[in-house]
Homo-oligomer: 193 residues x 2
DNA sequence: GTCTATATAGTGATAGAC
DNA sequence: GTCTATCACTATATAGAC
């Protein structure tokens, strides 16, 4: 059946989200206008409000989707030996974050532009993710495979270090992502041994 | 001698910079208006333009001052044994960054709000700082004190890890800055050994 | 040095036609 | 579902009085 002319709810919605993601990452939430997002999509500003009640919800949805996908993808296997388990986390973290630089950037640059309620929700998801790594470290310490003075500190240190890859790595650069991942894993491995 | 009433160029200037630093760190450059900065200082918006030609210059000056102070303070001593030299860097980095969280936050959250020319200048200063750490690592490798596959990667990994302390450390928390520093140093030490 | 007033432009969001 | 038009604000920056 032919749709009403100009009716594209099934594809415009995702396009709005994609444009917002791109522009927020590039220019920052506060600096990007609804008009700029609309222009990127190819519609007028008023049309955006069919897909989001307001600009804040658009930001929150992007961040929540990202964190939810991250938590669903991480897939930790507690049966693995401690080192293999930690290595799997390192490889996963770098690959997952490398694949979606804009979402990663937004997820921790735009926290301050969330309302209090939305901020609390995103922070809870982030803590869930951190707890996943801390569990790996704690189990490894208990099994005698790792030597870590404080697993919470080590968790935060490792995540900061790994996420940092996104700020400088370029596929066209001197090293492949595999080589970079191998070297980060080596540093993490030593740091907890 | 009595000054002209309302004439305070010697103290208002620094107060404008301090207010901008605080507000930019809290709300983000794009989201903070000149009126908001003026209100924080206790003057009207127009008066700010006695101290800065425009908002962009205000941001750039804050970032440039921060990076310049960082480079002047780092004070690397190439005569030290490799481990002591690296340890001094780690201790310095954490202490310096802990002492000025707002400037640190701005210096890497607001990069995208700089004009191209200003961005290039700040990036050059940042590279200078990174090169300082890389020199320490390279010398240590040459002396046989460190084992590092790629000193550039190790540099970026270490800096990301150390700067991350600012995102979570609170003086009122479970651990003192000295304890935290000791544990980060231990992780860095192992990662390059 | 600071004020008030203002120019010029842009903002998020809504109403109603099609 | 998208458009045009618009409301009510807010923005940066400047001019000229004091």
């Amino acid at each position: 059946m032919a749709r009403t002319a100009g009716s594209h709810s099934d594809i415009t919605g995702p396009r709005v989200r994609a444009a917002a993601l791109r522009l927020f990452a590039r220019g920052g939430y506060a600096a990007v206008s609804m008009r700029a997002i609309a222009a990127e999509v190819g519609v007028q500003a008023g049309a955006l409000y069919t897909y989001t009640p307001d600009k804040q919800s658009l930001l929150f949805d992007l961040m929540e989707s990202h964190m939810t996908e991250l938590l669903e993808a991480v897939n930790d296997d507690a049966e693995l030996p401690a080192q293999a388990r930690l290595r799997a986390f390192v490889v996963f973290h770098i690959a997952f974050h490398h694949a979606r630089p804009d979402a990663v950037f937004i997820a921790y640059m735009e926290l301050r532009n969330l309302t209090d309620k939305n901020f609390a929700r995103i922070e809870a998801l982030r803590r869930d993710y951190e707890n996943g790594l801390e569990r790996i470290l704690r189990d490894g310490v208990a099994a005698g495979a790792f030597r870590v003075a404080d697993t919470k500190i080590a968790t935060l240190a490792i995540i900061a270090m790994l996420t940092g890859v996104n700020t400088w790595f370029r596929a066209a650069g001197r090293l492949s992502l595999e080589e970079v991942t191998a070297q980060y894993w080596e540093m993490v491995r030593r740091a907890v041994s």
